[in-house]
Subunit: 205 residues, 4 copies
DNA sequence: TATGAATGAGTATTCATTCAT
DNA sequence: GATGAATGAATACTCATTCAT
């Protein structure tokens, strides 16, 4: 039983260090943050970090988990929702809200590092991005057959939707004022635009 | 005249080093690349770089120029084109093509560093992103008044369009296979979707 | 009695750890081996080692015991053997055989460390080397008086004999193939050479 | 020509650092000495050492050169010297004298490290020990045929001679007082003993 | 008494920057 | 101006030792 207790203590410590790392990495980036910075923020000794993580990179890779949970934990689609507008609505409104400041910090450092390090890029693609795209792609295929959405190229459309969402997050991370104050309702507007198009149709007049 | 010659020589050397830096930074990232790497790639001595650039960060900031030219050099909108579909078409087709492998490398390292360093983030926002958004925003406002596009919130719509484009580039940089082989025609499809919407309208049947 | 039992248990544990340490030190050297390596090899926790030994250096010093026993346990000379050839024979044949692979490992690490650390050097000299030299020196003195061996400088001769033996062990430890496969009979040959000299005497023809 | 000057300067610096390293390693051993210790002793910055040596181990391996020169530079045997006694005389007298305090320091650290690190052991064997043994072995073979020395097993005899010499050096390095004050004449005595044997022959009476 | 997680001092190595030539 | 050797601050990681359980 002391064994179970130890495991729990270990897990708590791990999460504690990960939170500190998320904060420090979010502020200074992966390369800019030192193990000492993280240890200080977590209130432990430098060496303690290595009782939990193999090395600095391992900490960063562990931060992919919350991002992955983000995608896999809450399925984008839902068997009963065959309404494409509702799908977009959910994609943009709900997901935007789940990006708390802390999770944004994680995204910031993970994206930054993934762009220049294949060892981060590969798991990000495989564990976060693809699990976000695939169900969407499948759902779009189904909806296309039933006539709800335009039928061409679900592979491309799913990527476009994710791209828009990621791009909005990116602009926010880069300091765009408009997106820093975007809330769920803002996202609702964007979902509507994507659903109905930007151009007003003559036939609608 | 010798003065002029010197200036030209200097400018040539500067461009030469910048090209080498673009390549090296694109491959290794900003922190992962050393001054020595760049000097080697440019065929000059380490010290020579400091005759042209103040420090390593200065090289990176200088790489914003080609990205800025990207946006300001070829205006997104064009007074004569009052057609919103054509605007989107141009935004996605032409711009996608201008992202040569070298420019993608620049974008890669600049984005990576901007995400975690405010000293890169601010000029990227100011010199590249905002100059891309503002004319678009203005044009959308005009088109909204003339009824060509939906009228609400050009600030948000312009950001959404840029977000989609940036997001597509981002997915490509992160290794998404579909987007790695996307060409101008692929971008044309995406522009169409944004123009007309994803949902098929009952009224259109 | 429980007290006695405890002492025995303690002594067993001590010997167990020492054996593990001999193995690990022999493979990795003193600095290259970690307390954790030794604890693992002994099947105990790191902390347990400190219940038995004061510190890492104390383990190494404790490994001098088997080497010391080597010398003091089996006296080199024997009052009844006044035959110098027999003495050399015993010195080389018997002692060579007592250097089991494990004891060679101990010698390896002790020599290595003694060469660069006075805190190991002094006890090695005092507890192992001098106890090996002195009785030999004494015996040579006696034999010199009775005319069995050349009379000059027993101090030097005893050292020369030990030097030869140590040197042979050293070459073996350094990987010399010929000595790695040397057995007792090989040592017998060497003893003969030392007894009779390398040069063939004209008078012997 | 400035190129030639640079090479010379580089070589001087290299030798300067090597001398400092020999001193520091000799005092503290390989593991006990830090790069900073060596840099301080050489009067240069830590980083400068890495302009000359690839890493710490490379410094140690470079210290094999003076030891190798020791053996290969001055051939043990000499075509004209067919006299075995003279050969031993030279082996012990001359070589002992070449072990200056500095070279002894080098031998100390090289032996210490070679005992526990195969990466040092192999080159020591190949570049120092074998080049010392082989010519000796050959010469002994020749002398055996001409009847000057006992004929059996030159492989073993050559090793025995080197073992004796190495063993004497080892005892000296371990602090044996008698050998710390041994000079060339002491070595002469030892050579005589090896030549003529330890035992006084009845036939010689 | 045994455990093994926490500690934090210690170190090889890197690399941006300088500056004598 | 160009060079590239010298600099030395900075940092990930190790490991002997301690001590609460």
């Amino acid at each position: 039983m002391s064994n179970l207790l130890k495991q729990k203590t270990m897990e708590l410590r791990r999460q504690h260090i990960l939170q500190a790392a998320a904060r420090v990495f979010g502020e200074r980036g992966f390369r800019g943050a030192t193990i000492h910075n993280i240890a200080e923020a977590a209130g432990v000794a430098d060496g303690t970090i290595y009782n939990v993580f193999a090395n600095k990179a391992d900490i960063l890779l562990s931060l992919l988990d919350p991002l992955a949970t983000q995608t896999t934990g809450k399925p984008l689609t839902n068997p009963t929702s065959a309404d494409p507008s509702a799908l977009l609505e959910r994609l943009f409104r709900e997901r935007w809200e789940t990006f708390t400041p802390e999770l944004l910090g994680v995204l910031r450092v993970v994206l930054s590092e993934a762009l220049v390090d294949p060892d981060v890029r590969a798991p990000l693609l495989e564990r976060v991005i693809e699990p976000a795209i695939h169900p969407l792609e499948r759902e779009l295929g189904v909806m296309a057959k039933s006539g709800g959405v335009i039928s061409s190229d679900p592979k491309l459309i799913s990527r476009t939707l994710l791209a828009t969402f990621l791009g909005l997050l990116l602009l926010r991370l880069l300091g765009d004022r408009r997106l820093e104050r975007a809330d769920a309702s803002t996202m609702g507007k964007i979902a509507d635009i994507l659903a109905d198009g930007l151009v007003t149709r003559p036939s609608e007049s």
